[in-house]
C-alpha cells in the first residue's frame, strides 16, 4: 500500500466536499493511503498572490515544510493550492537563500488529476472498473491552473491536454473533442464580478452542449462550483436552459469502480446528475 501526505485545502472542507469524499473513496479502492497533514493552513490562494508576493510564498511554504516533516509525497486535490505550492517550490529551487524556511525542497508535490492519470495507477484503475460508464459522453474540462503555466505544471500539451480524456476512456466513458478544454471560467471573480463568471461559464456550457456532451468533468473546485451552481442563473441571463451535470473526475472514477457512497456525492450537486445517470443505466 502506497502512502501519501494529503493536503485537502479549504474548499474541500465546504463547497467541494464531494471532491474530498470521492478522492478518499477512490484512494480506498486503489489502496492508496492518505495521511491528512496535521495542522495545515490555507495556501493563500488567489488573494495572497494578488496582494503580496512574499506573503503568498510564505503561506505555501509553511504547508510544504509540514509535508516534508511527514516525508515523501504530497497529494493536492485543489488545483489552486497545487499551483501555489509549485510556485513556492520553484522560488525555493531558484532563490533558496532569500527565504527563512524549514522547507528544503524535498517534497514531491502531486496534483490529484496528474497522479491518477499516471501509467502505474491507470493500469490499476483499469483493473478495478466494475461498471464501465458506457454511453456517457463527457467533455473534459481542465481549466487553467491544472495545465498552465507549463513550467510549473510540466504538462506538455497544455493547449490541448489529453490525460483526463484518457482516464475517462479507461472508465468506459466517451470523451469528446472540444475546443474549450483549457478556457477560463472566471475562477475567483465569482464573488466580486459574478457577471464575468456568468459570461465565461455560459460560453463553456454552450460549447460543451454543442459538442453534444452529456456532462462536464473537472478537477478544479472553482470550475466545478462556477459551472454547477449557476446554470439556472446563467440560463436566465442568456435566455437558455441548461441541465449539464459537472462532475469531479474522482466521482466518475468512484462510479465506475463501484464505490458505495456515490449517491451521497452526487446528492451535493446543484445540477442533479441522477436523472442523466439513470437514463444511461449507470445508476438505479
Amino acid at each position: 500500500m502506497k502512502e501519501f501526505s494529503y493536503y485537502p485545502g479549504c474548499s474541500l472542507d465546504g463547497t467541494a466536499r464531494e471532491y474530498d469524499e470521492s478522492i478518499r473513496g477512490v484512494c480506498e479502492i486503489l489502496e492508496v493511503q492518505l495521511r491528512e497533514l496535521d495542522d495545515w493552513t490555507c495556501c493563500g490562494a488567489s488573494s495572497a498572490h494578488c496582494t503580496d508576493g512574499h506573503l503568498a510564498i510564505e503561506l505555501a511554504l509553511r504547508n510544504l515544510a509540514l509535508a516534508e516533516k511527514g516525508g515523501g509525497e504530497l497529494l493536492v486535490p485543489c488545483v489552486a493550492c497545487y499551483s501555489r505550492f509549485k510556485v513556492a517550490e520553484k522560488e525555493i529551487r531558484e532563490h533558496a537563500e532569500e527565504w527563512e524556511t524549514a522547507y528544503q525542497g524535498k517534497v514531491r508535490i502531486r496534483y490529484a488529476l496528474d497522479f491518477f492519470c499516471e501509467d502505474s495507477l491507470i493500469d490499476l484503475v483499469r483493473e478495478k472498473v466494475v461498471t464501465p460508464l458506457s454511453g456517457l459522453k463527457v467533455a473534459c474540462y481542465y481549466g487553467c491552473l491544472s495545465v498552465r503555466p507549463p513550467d510549473i505544471t510540466r504538462v506538455k500539451d497544455y493547449e490541448d491536454p489529453e490525460h483526463m480524456d484518457r482516464l475517462m476512456g479507461i472508465l468506459g466513458a466517451e470523451p469528446l473533442p472540444w475546443s474549450y478544454k483549457t478556457d477560463c471560467c472566471g475562477a475567483s471573480l465569482v464573488m466580486t464580478r459574478t457577471d464575468i463568471v456568468r459570461k465565461l461559464s455560459h460560453g463553456l456550457l454552450d460549447m460543451a452542449r454543442e459538442a453534444e456532451a452529456d456532462c462536464l468533468v473537472t478537477g478544479c473546485t472553482m470550475c466545478q462550483s462556477n459551472l454547477d451552481t449557476r446554470q439556472e442563473e446563467i440560463g436566465k441571463e442568456f435566455g437558455k436552459k441548461y441541465d449539464l451535470p459537472v462532475f469531479y473526475f474522482t466521482e466518475l472514477m468512484g462510479l465506475a469502480m463501484g464505490h458505495r457512497d456515490v449517491k451521497r456525492w452526487f446528492a451535493r450537486h446543484l445540477t442533479d446528475p441522477m436523472r442523466l445517470l439513470s437514463a444511461k443505466g449507470l445508476m438505479k
Binding site: 465546504g14 466536499r17 488573494s47 508576493g53 487553467c144 471573480l189 466580486t192 451535493r268
Partner: protein, 190 residues
C-alpha cells in the same frame, strides 16, 4: 521635476521613467522584449471587461505611465488564467506582471478602479490571519459586511446549504502562531 508630459487619450499624462524598472525588477520579467504582437490580448478571456488591454498595459509600463496603469481596472479583472503568459512569443509572464502591478497599486495608495475585488482579497487574507484556514461562510459574511450587498447570491447560498456544501462552523486546529509570524513579516515585499 524630471517628469515629462505626453498626450494619451486626449489628456496630458505624467510619465515616471523609473516605473518600468520597478515593475521589471519586482517581477523579474524583461518587459522591453514586448513588440506588441497583441497575442496576450487576443487570447485573454476577460479582455472584453478591461479598460486597457494587456498589451497596452505592457506598453504603458514601458512608457512609464504609472498612474494610468495602476488605476486601470485591468490589473484587477485579470483572472490569472495564464493564457497570455504561455502564448507570449517573448516569454514575458504577463499574468505575473499583473500580480506585480496589483502589489504596487495597493502599496502606492492610488484610487483603485475596482472596489470589490481588492476588498475580497483583504477579507480573504484577514480570514487566514485570524483562523489559519478559510471558513467559506465566515468569509462570505465578512465580505458582505464590507460591500453592504447582503442579498446577492442569498438564494443560491440557501440551496448550497441544503446540499450540505456550507459548513456553519470553522474547523479547529492550531498553527495560529506561525501564521501570525508570517503576517507580521507581510509587507516586506518581494
Amino acid at each position: 521635476m524630471g517628469v515629462k508630459g505626453i498626450k494619451i487619450e486626449g489628456h496630458a499624462a505624467a510619465t515616471d521613467p523609473s516605473f518600468l524598472d520597478l515593475v521589471a525588477q519586482e517581477g523579474g520579467e524583461n518587459l522591453l522584449a514586448c513588440y506588441q504582437c497583441q497575442k496576450c490580448s487576443a487570447g485573454c478571456p476577460v479582455a472584453y471587461a478591461m479598460d486597457i488591454l494587456p498589451n497596452q498595459v505592457i506598453r504603458m509600463v514601458q512608457f512609464g505611465l504609472r498612474e494610468r496603469v495602476l488605476t486601470s481596472n485591468t490589473i484587477w479583472i485579470c483572472a490569472s488564467c495564464y493564457t497570455c503568459s504561455v502564448r507570449c512569443p517573448n516569454d514575458i509572464d504577463i499574468a505575473k506582471t499583473m500580480d506585480v502591478l496589483r502589489h504596487i497599486a495597493l502599496k502606492s495608495g492610488v484610487k483603485l478602479a475596482e472596489r470589490d475585488i481588492p476588498i475580497f482579497h483583504s477579507v480573504f487574507l484577514d480570514s487566514i490571519k485570524s483562523k489559519g484556514r478559510i471558513h467559506e461562510l465566515g468569509l462570505i459574511w465578512q465580505y458582505k459586511a464590507k460591500t453592504r450587498d447582503f442579498m446577492k447570491d442569498a438564494a443560491l447560498g440557501w440551496k448550497m446549504f441544503r446540499k450540505g456544501k456550507i459548513k456553519l462552523l470553522p474547523s479547529k486546529f492550531g498553527g495560529g502562531k506561525e501564521i501570525r509570524g508570517i503576517f507580521s513579516r507581510y509587507g516586506k515585499g518581494k
